[in-house]
């Protein structure tokens, strides 16, 4: 984390800075979940389907080994080519994706293995298909139930941390962000359009939303930042994956010895305290 300069909370990151992070997070060559899995996970067995309606290509879920340790892994997957992007729904997951994610997390919980989630979504899908299958309920239930899984959960925002779509797999014991990812309640363009009826004021919104990794760290929403190689993760997939792998293994080692009841209590407290004013602490 030596690469990262963390500004004191009073000093907002410049507008350009924030916008630049958003653009890097959306860089067309940015490594996606499967790019990380390829480089940091062995013997990955992908699991499919929510046992209810279908299989959502926007979320990849399965069982694999990180440095020989069994881990359940869940991640949003965007597509790169036109056909992949359609199949992956641009990384915008539907209800069946969140339900598949919870099903696979429960498998890990059942046998006591940890969970890693990789967040990279512009937001959850919000078309009729999702409304009709209960996208809100699926995201809500995941957040409720992730507090009750008696195994370590490590969350890494690897690209776009888009609102409800992100938090639907975002409850955990250690929350990390890649240096050039962002995490926000809304995309800056949409924020500008809603608040100021002018989506071209996206840079201003990006800055105001405090969506960069250092901002999220200052807010106490995340625990640490994972640095990226060179100009960003897209310049060196191998190195980016190594850095993520090291950070994940470090977190898992820390969490591995904590008894399940303590782990879950601390997880609840962690989110319970987010945003609490100092005078109440």
């Amino acid at each position: 984390m030596s690469k990262i300069h963390i500004p004191p909370s009073s000093e907002a990151s410049s507008e350009q800075d924030a916008q630049q992070q958003v653009e890097l997070a959306r860089h067309p060559q940015r490594p996606y979940t499967l790019d990380y899995l390829d480089r940091m996970v062995t013997d990955f067995v992908e699991l499919h389907g929510d046992r209810r309606y279908g299989d959502d290509g926007a979320i990849v879920a399965g069982l694999g080994f990180i440095q020989g340790y069994p881990v359940a892994i869940i991640g949003h997957q965007k597509g790169r080519s036109a056909s992949q992007r359609r199949r992956r729904n641009f990384g915008m997951a539907r209800a069946e994706g969140y339900r598949k994610a919870m099903r696979v997390m429960r498998i890990a919980a059942k046998v006591g293995h940890p969970i890693l989630t990789l967040i990279d979504t512009p937001g959850a899908d919000c078309l009729e298909q999702s409304e009709s299958r209960g996208i809100s309920e699926a995201i809500a239930a995941n957040q409720r139930d992730m507090f009750t899984l008696p195994v370590p959960i490590v969350v890494v925002v690897i690209g776009e941390g888009g609102s409800g779509g992100a938090i639907g797999i975002g409850v955990g014991d250690r929350i990390m962000m890649l240096e050039h990812s962002y995490y926000s309640v809304i995309a800056p363009e949409s924020c500008a359009a809603i608040l100021w009826r002018d989506s071209s004021r996206n840079e201003e919104a990006a800055s105001a939303l405090k969506l960069t990794a250092p901002d999220a760290l200052n807010l106490g929403v995340i625990d640490s930042i994972i640095s990226e190689p060179g100009e960003g993760a897209h310049t060196d997939y191998g190195q980016a994956a190594n850095l993520v792998k090291e950070a994940v293994l470090g977190a898992l080692t820390e969490l591995g010895d904590i008894p399940p009841a303590e782990l879950m209590a601390a997880r609840y407290e962690k989110f319970r305290k987010m945003g609490q004013p100092k005078e109440l602490q």
Partner: protein
């Protein structure tokens, strides 16, 4: 329902799908998958044991349960007796303990040759005992399903095997033990609506027929089910199956899953790294 005649036992076999004539010895090497069209031949339980677990490791359980005829159904005792003589099995499922790549597991394998793999009291009892014994012995469970459905001659007692086996799967779950269900051609009726679809991980062999209503039910009730609805592929597309797989990849997939569940590292990865993901998942995003 399937009869033993559907299952190969000659020097040459004709592929039922593409009609290619295949030398049995060669077909055996291909694990009974047609090299021409990929059709998966139906297997006897003994063949499934042979291609799945470590040689000589299988120890059968509960092979001595007595013949039951709860309804005194006309001709049923004789039918069961004949099936026992014809197949050398005591019922339509074989259960026991074995090792796969050295990993101990509880194993259930259904056999279509025994009254179409239908589920009566003994099948349900053997499945329930398998689960309970694996709770006691702390073993993961793999069950290969193949069934025409319920055993009509046991009527309600057959129906009650569904809650009994489902409850037993639940006991395994409460004990934190994994259950992998493998759906093979064909799996129908009461078995699908109980332990077949309760696996933590559900695997299906490609091309397997499966569905809630058995083929006879579909036939006699003139159910208008479109072609293709009762297939592994349809179920996979609709989110019911985790892994749709060729039989030749099945053993290795089970090996990796058993390692994962047991928290042990697969020693010499038969396929490590990027290429393995393409094999085991539908990881087609790589350019």
């Amino acid at each position: 329902m399937t009869t033993v005649d559907d299952i190969p036992s000659n020097l040459w076999e004709e592929c039922p799908l593409c009609h290619q004539l295949l030398y049995t010895r060669a077909l055996e090497k291909e694990l009974w998958v047609c090299p021409k069209c990929g059709y998966h031949f139906r297997l006897h339980s003994a063949q499934r044991v042979q291609i799945t677990v470590d040689e000589g490791s299988f120890i059968p359980w509960d092979n001595d349960l007595p013949l039951v005829d709860p309804l005194q159904f006309p001709g049923y005792r004789e039918k069961v007796q004949q099936a026992r003589e014809k197949t050398g099995l005591n019922e339509a499922v074989v259960t026991g303990r074995a090792t796969l790549a050295g990993i101990p597991l509880g194993l259930g394998i259904m056999d279509l040759a025994f009254i179409g793999g239908s589920m009566g009291w003994i099948v349900g009892e053997k499945i329930a005992r398998l689960m309970e014994r694996c709770v006691a012995d702390q073993l993961p469970v793999v069950v290969f399903c193949a069934s025409g459905g319920a055993r009509m001659q046991e009527s309600l007692i057959s129906l009650m095997q569904m809650p009994k086996t489902s409850g037993a799967v639940g006991k395994l779950g409460e004990a934190g033990l994994p259950y992998i269900g493998v759906l093979t051609d064909p799996t129908y009726g009461g078995v699908t609506a109980s332990y077949a679809f309760l696996g933590d991980v559900i695997i299906a062999e490609t091309g397997a027929a499966m569905g809630f209503a058995g083929p006879r039910v579909v036939e006699v009730t003139n159910l208008n089910l479109p072609r293709g609805v009762q297939t592994a592929e349809f179920q996979y597309e609709h989110g019911m199956i985790d892994i749709l797989i060729n039989r030749q990849q099945l053993r290795n997939t089970l090996r990796i899953l058993l390692h994962w569940f047991g928290g042990t590292r697969p020693e010499h990865s038969e396929n490590a790294g990027a290429s393995s993901t393409a094999l085991l998942g539908e990881m087609t995003d790589h350019e």
